[in-house]
């Protein structure tokens, strides 16, 4: 029944095949293994345990993780040792696995779009979690939404867009570099997401979005050097009240984009800058004794680990917590552990501006007149507060 964890997308419990696309995988030259036998695994627990062909995120440590596709003969090597994939098969996600010999260990995590963003092969600059999450949320995506994206780049945002609109919606993503488009398309197919996403090689700035998508989209995301060039095309593709978002690193790009948005019937234009400020958290022992020299700040991790080990040994030897000092009145000078959080100095994000705008529903003079006549009855007087000056003076 529980088949929800273990794939980039959640699956309905009891779904007979892991992803609807699996049937096509046999024809896929990159399918590497007999992994596509996955549908034959019993539904109960399938997807919770590592299977051949699964995409696994191997977690070594903070910001040290890798994407690995589990294969029959595969072997993952790192500084902690050699890990044979076949030993992972059948283990639940979240397992700690050990390398050959008495080596170290890694954790096997089920992939999510967030983890994918951390491990994906960079073909371009990518968007990171804070921007991605804001884009998906502010584009007001939900299952069934149809969304445009250009360019595809490394597909970092693409995976999150797919999660937001699947299984009934679709992501149409366009990349003007053929090699990158092909790589992204292969990735989408490998990840079993082709039913929810179509990658197309196309220069959107030069050609706009394909005419066949006109009036069929709920939202659009642009990460282009000249987004203003394709705004008329976006306006044709979106339904009224649909949202467009453009990401630009330079404010001059934002300005030209805003001008084009206004000229093409978009309103509610908002530009924001978002950072995800990450914090380091440490349990520190702050020294209270002013008579002692202070240890170097840089060695705190080592010192703390040593201290911890020493205290532990003492504990085992029958000492107690107080035994550390010389006894007597020193107790209040014991180091006091405090948890501190401080902003991480080197942060991994590309700062840019996100501009959101909404396609305004069309309003005609007749609609305005009709509503005013109906609402005002016979009491309508000259010089009301209409926006259109001509309309006022009639």
């Amino acid at each position: 029944m529980a088949t929800r964890i273990g794939h980039l997308l959640h699956r309905a419990p009891g779904a007979s095949t892991p992803v609807p696309d699996d049937d096509d995988d046999g024809a896929n030259p990159r399918g590497a293994t007999d992994a596509d036998a996955a549908p034959s695994t019993p539904p109960h627990g399938a997807g919770r345990t590592v299977q051949l062909g699964d995409l696994v995120v191997v977690y070594e440590g903070f910001n040290r993780q890798k994407a690995v596709t589990v294969t029959e003969k595969g072997c993952y090597q790192n500084r902690y040792g050699n890990f044979h994939h076949r030993e992972w098969v059948g283990k639940p996600y979240g397992s700690k696995v050990y390398g050959k010999g008495d080596a170290g260990f890694v954790w096997l995590l089920a992939p999510t779009p967030e983890l994918w963003t951390k491990v994906l092969p960079h073909r371009t600059q990518i968007l990171y979690l804070p921007d991605i999450s804001l884009v998906c949320h502010a584009l007001e995506l939900k299952p069934g939404s149809v969304v445009l994206e250009s360019g595809t780049g490394s597909g970092s945002l693409t995976h999150s867009l797919i999660r937001a609109v699947a299984p009934t919606g679709h992501v149409y993503t366009f990349e003007f570099n053929r090699v990158r488009a092909e790589a992204a398309s292969a990735e989408i197919v490998d990840h079993g997401l082709a039913d929810f996403c179509t990658v197309t090689h196309r220069d959107i700035e030069a050609n706009g979005f394909p005419g066949e998508l006109e009036d069929r989209c709920d939202a659009a995301f642009l990460d282009l050097p000249g987004p203003w060039k394709c705004i008329p095309s976006v306006a044709k593709c979106l339904r009224p009240d649909g949202v467009v978002c453009s990401f630009s690193p330079c404010i001059e790009q934002v300005q030209r984009c805003c001008e084009a948005l206004e000229a093409n019937g978009f309103g509610d234009c908002q530009t924001v800058e978002l950072l995800g400020r990450e914090y380091d958290v440490e349990a520190r022992e702050l020294q209270r004794d002013l008579a002692l020299a202070q240890p170097k700040l840089s060695s705190r991790w080592k010192r703390e680990a040593k201290e911890k080990a020493r205290r532990k040994r003492k504990h085992v030897d029958g000492g107690d917590g107080d035994g550390d000092g010389d006894g007597g009145g020193d107790v209040q000078l014991e180091p006091k552990p405090v948890v501190v959080a401080h902003p991480r100095q080197e942060a991994q994000h590309h700062t840019g501006y996100l501009t959101f705008a909404r396609l305004s529903p069309l309003v005609t003079g007749e609609m305005i007149d009709a509503a005013r006549a109906a609402g005002g009855g016979g009491t309508r007087r000259r010089g009301g507060g209409g926006y259109d000056e001509d309309e006022l003076s009639e």
Partner: protein, 499 residues
């Protein structure tokens, strides 16, 4: 001939989606009226409904019905609401505005005249003009013309003056669709305490870090009035199960979720459940160690019913329990069955004829059978989102994380970093999670206008609170084993590792 797809190895693109029309405002829908960009009102549309807009008490909302969401309206001095052009142009207004930066005028001679002596008209004059039918823009023009200082101001300052006065004399409103983003923004500006000051970017971050998507089964524990539960339910599109866990015996208000025009499937995908019940059910599963034998299930339903009665949830509970049992056979049928049960139950309760646009706003509490199913170790929640800043995150996570599927992500929001930092430290020491991250969404809005682009002046510090996130590691995978000596631990600790 399609221009889409066509890359090697990719299947042909699926059939094109249908033509989309703008979602229209219907009777029974909730509409978020944004007035002059600084006031918000949630209005449930009724036929012949009215609303208070600006100084007008009884404004007919008839023009909204059938019009697309996102439409803009104005209200004239007679209190008549009518559709209006969306936004006055800023960029395409002509060269005057764009060259305003070369304006040589300045405020050297413009003083802050507290006695209002700059304005020659007094309130009687204004009232007289209004009686004569001069309102809105015309009135503001008249005010500017009779201001002693207006002409001396720079073009920017003039524009600011006009905008300020317009705000007072003309109400422009946008009828927004109450999407989670719009609802979140409106509450953040209007009544932030109701949603615990969760800003829309933080909400988006929780949805992403909570891996929310169709067919998920997240556990949400929030005290944000239902904002997060509603946003999660919408993002899942009625597919999967949203469990709104609560502390204490009765579910907290989810009224804000009810503002989001959720469809029946989305609303019915939500079930409230006391977290203590979930934890107890998991403990019973663990105690038996078996795969739910019959005696056990009968017992649980009994005890659960007693509980349900105490919560004041009566008849529907029984219906739901039956639905839950059936669902074990074929889960797909569950949505339909629940819907019928729901309707039956409500028909009995509401014998009167329902008004036009009536829709159920009922959110069910989880039946004992469902609680038992959710707490099954073979099931597990796909993620946890915790946004209840009054709860100690360390203790809450210690109890709630074991309900998750191994490796499942979790995200915890708080307005303060310290409780989250302590929780992170605790999780790291106990190795209950990896990929631990504490971050603060920091957002700033910019005014982007011709030759006058700058960060928007706000009264907020930019912080959207703090989010702790990670992936859950079950207990059996944490203990130190061979190869994991102190040295490795130190190495890992140094790199901020999650040991």
């Amino acid at each position: 001939m399609t221009e889409l797809g066509g890359l090697p190895g990719a299947p042909p693109p699926p059939t094109l989606p249908g033509v989309k029309t703008a979602p229209a405002m219907g009777v029974g829908d909730t509409v978020l009226l944004e007035m002059n960009g600084d006031k918000w009102a949630f209005i449930k549309l009724k036929r012949d409904g009215t609303a208070v807009i600006g100084k007008h008490k009884d404004v007919s909302l008839a023009p909204l019905i059938g019009a697309p969401f996102g439409s803009t309206y104005e209200v004239d001095q007679d209190g008549v609401l009518y559709p209006a052009q969306p936004d006055p142009p800023e960029w395409t207004a002509g060269d005057d505005a764009i060259n305003a930066i070369d304006d040589d005028r300045n405020n050297a001679d413009v003083n802050d005249m507290r006695d209002n002596s700059a304005q020659r008209m007094d309130q009687h004059d204004i009232a007289r003009l209004k009686r004569e039918g001069v309102g809105g823009r015309s009135l503001v023009e008249a005010l500017a013309a009779s201001s002693a200082t207006f002409a001396k101001k720079t073009a920017y300052a003039q524009e600011k003056y006009v905008k300020k006065k317009l705000r007072k004399h003309l109400v422009r409103c946008r009828a927004r669709r109450p999407t989670p983003r719009a609802v979140c923004e409106a509450y953040f500006h209007k009544q932030p305490a109701a949603t615990n000051y969760v800003r829309y970017d933080a909400l988006g971050m929780l949805l992403a870090l909570g891996n929310v998507g169709a067919e998920a089964q997240p556990l949400i524990v929030e005290t944000c009035g239902g904002l997060i539960v509603g946003a999660v339910a919408e993002r899942m599109g009625g597919r999967g199960r949203v469990v709104a866990g609560h502390t204490g015996p009765s579910a907290p208000s989810l009224d804000i979720a009810r503002l989001m025009n959720l469809g029946d499937a989305e609303r019915e995908s939500i079930a409230t459940a006391p977290v203590t019940e979930l934890i107890a059910a998991r403990a019973r599963h663990a105690g038996i160690g078996g795969e739910g034998d019959e005696d056990d299930s009968a017992k649980e339903i009994d005890s659960g019913n007693a509980n349900g009665a105490a919560d004041g949830v009566d008849k529907a509970e029984g219906d739901e329990a039956e639905g839950g049992k059936d669902a074990e056979g074929g889960k797909d049928a569950e949505g339909g069955k629940d819907a019928e049960g729901d309707k039956d139950a409500l028909q009995e309760r509401v014998p009167r004829e329902r008004p036009e646009g009536w829709r159920s706003r009922r959110i069910e509490s989880a039946s004992p059978a469902l609680i038992r199913e959710l707490a099954s170790p073979a099931q597990g929640f796909t993620s946890l989102i915790l946004a209840a800043p009054a709860l100690d995150p360390s203790s809450a996570l210690a109890k709630l994380l074991p309900l998750l599927a191994p490796s499942a992500p979790f995200a915890v929001w708080s307005y303060a970093p310290q409780p989250l930092a302590e929780a992170l430290d605790e999780l790291r020491r106990s190795s209950s999670a990896v990929n631990l991250t504490l971050q603060e969404p920091w957002l700033r809005r910019h005014q982007v206008l011709p030759r006058r682009t700058h960060p928007t002046m706000t009264t907020t510090a930019g912080s959207g609170g703090y989010v702790l996130s990670g992936n859950y590691i079950p207990e059996g995978e944490r203990k130190r084993q061979r190869g994991d000596d102190d040295e490795t631990a130190v190495k890992r600790a140094r790199t901020g590792g999650a040991d």
